[in-house]
């Protein structure tokens, strides 16, 4: 995704980098995939063994480790795919619809 300082639809051809090169590393971070989400994971801490499997399997990666070794999602990037819930060793993650 080519991202410039202006919104895409206002960027002119003169503002293109040669060959559409993206000069800022990690610029995909500005693309908030969290907007895509229709559900999100919720951890039940009492059953969490802090193994980190959810963190490992998250494709984004949008799961962050919290103080104490527990995990939570990063709302900016979590797409709500549910892989973490499916792979959780103890079944402590449940997917909750956004509107609730």
């Amino acid at each position: 995704m080519i991202k410039y300082t202006k919104p895409l639809e206002q960027t002119t051809w003169k503002e293109m980098e040669v060959g559409g090169v993206l000069t800022v590393p990690g610029s995909a971070r500005e693309y908030r995939t969290g907007d895509w989400r229709s559900q999100h994971p919720v951890w039940t801490k009492s059953r969490c063994i802090r193994c980190g499997v959810c963190w490992t399997v998250c494709p984004e990666p949008a799961i962050v480790e919290e103080p104490g070794g527990y995990f939570d999602m990063d709302p900016n990037y979590c797409k709500g795919c549910g892989i973490c819930a499916r792979e959780c060793v103890t079944g402590c993650i449940s997917m909750v619809p956004e509107e609730e």
Binding site: L8, T11, T12, G19, L22, T23
Partner: protein, 397 residues
């Protein structure tokens, strides 16, 4: 081969070998190629130069032309001066990667030893291969003899790598007709080449210390703008191409122009040719002039970017322009060169009539007599009004 490329000298050499020495003198750092007739001798000799330690470069053997150009893209993106060569089916197999190289603005230099496309299988020369790659967004140059093949191979690196250009560049040389001929050439010295062509300074390169993303994907909101920036760069490259050619002229005395003319003074009829047909046409035009027929020759050296203004200027006084194509556009208007020439001339209020002859397909020999024949036929066609969109010269039946 006798040439030691370190010093300026006159050499006798197969043109393919001279091209590989041009690449050596240009100090190419990365080569990936796959052998295909009639281009094979170029990369074969380069691989020997690398293996013998006479050229310090990475030579990647690959299993196809698709991979050859893909590897070149990677090496060029990493900042290396990169070369490849191909022909015919090989160029066709590269097709999708050709667009990636130019879209990413990587200054790869490629020599295409032009050859017909199958079927039927033909290893001989025509321009079908490169005309099928007309819109790939590369700079494209044609040469008419071995000296020009050597000169333009070196110059192509300087043009491609120019900071205002950054476009891959193809040097077209006619397969066999030029590639396999032993002839006399003038080499310039290594020091002169080094002075002319300093090391490549990439604008961006793949470097873990300073990461960039190349070849990213583009949403519909931005794709048109990226493409137009490429188009403008290709069009504007013309002035830098000329600068490089002028610098070369200062160095060697050999001056190249986007459109070149031969005996066009007072010529009412002009031939237009590309590649090795040009020299044969020069001989024919001299013979015609000797008989008092006011005929001249225009040749297109630069095919992309197309030299609109130079061509209009070169032909504006003529009454008839006979465009000689070496490729056919089946079911279309005839030859691709003629189509473009006609488009170029269309806005002019007064312009020569054009007649299109397609000659030399699949290695058919083109002696000077062919041009005499074509002149007679074309004048008849002009008098009566052309009886066809184009004529396939010499076809039987």
């Amino acid at each position: 081969m006798s040439a030691h490329p370190a010093k300026a000298q006159r050499v006798g050499m197969e043109v393919s070998i001279a091209v590989s020495h041009a690449v050596q003198m240009a100090r190419a750092e990365a080569i990936a190629a796959y052998p295909i007739t009639p281009q094979t001798h170029i990369v074969e000799h380069l691989s020997s130069l690398v293996a013998n330690g006479e050229l310090e470069a990475e030579f990647i053997n690959v299993e196809s032309e698709h991979s050859a150009l893909s590897a070149c893209i990677g090496m060029s993106a990493a900042g290396a001066r990169t070369f490849t060569a191909t022909s015919s089916q090989g160029l066709a197999l590269m097709h999708e990667i050709l667009f990636i190289a130019s879209g990413m603005r990587l200054p790869i230099v490629m020599v295409v030893a032009n050859r017909a496309l199958s079927a039927p299988l033909s290893i001989w020369n025509d321009h079908s291969d490169i005309m099928g790659a007309r819109d790939i967004g590369w700079i494209q140059v044609f040469v008419k003899n071995g000296q020009e093949a050597y000169d333009h191979t070196i110059m192509a690196f300087k043009i491609a790598e120019h900071p205002e250009v950054l476009l891959p560049t193809i040097v077209n040389l006619d397969g066999f007709i030029l590639s396999h001929v032993v002839e006399a050439l003038e080499f310039i010295g290594q020091e002169e080449v080094d002075g002319f062509l300093p090391p490549y300074q990439p604008r961006y390169r793949l470097d873990p210390k300073k990461p960039v993303t190349m070849g990213a994907f583009a949403m519909p909101e931005i794709y048109t703008e990226v493409k137009f920036a490429h188009q403008v760069a290709l069009t504007n490259s013309a002035r830098h191409i000329l600068e490089v050619w002028e610098e070369w002229a200062g160095l060697t005395g050999r001056r190249y122009r986007p459109v070149e003319t031969y005996l066009t003074e007072d010529a009412r009829v002009l031939f237009l040719t590309m590649g090795s047909l040009t020299e044969v046409a020069e001989v024919a035009v001299e013979e015609m002039r000797a008989k008092g027929v006011p005929v001249g020759l225009v040749s297109l050296r630069l095919w992309r970017p197309f030299p609109f203004e130079a061509l209009r200027e070169a032909v504006k006084e003529a009454e008839l322009l006979i465009v000689c194509d070496r490729a056919l556009s089946p079911g279309g208007p005839g030859g691709p060169v003629h189509s473009e020439v006609r488009t170029c001339l269309y806005p002019l209020e007064t312009r020569p009539a054009t007649v299109n002859y397609i000659i030399g397909l699949g290695g058919r020999d083109v002696p000077p007599e062919a041009f005499h024949d074509i002149l007679a036929q074309a004048q008849k066609e002009q008098e009566s009004g052309p009886s066809g969109e184009f004529f396939l010269y010499g076809v039987r039946g």
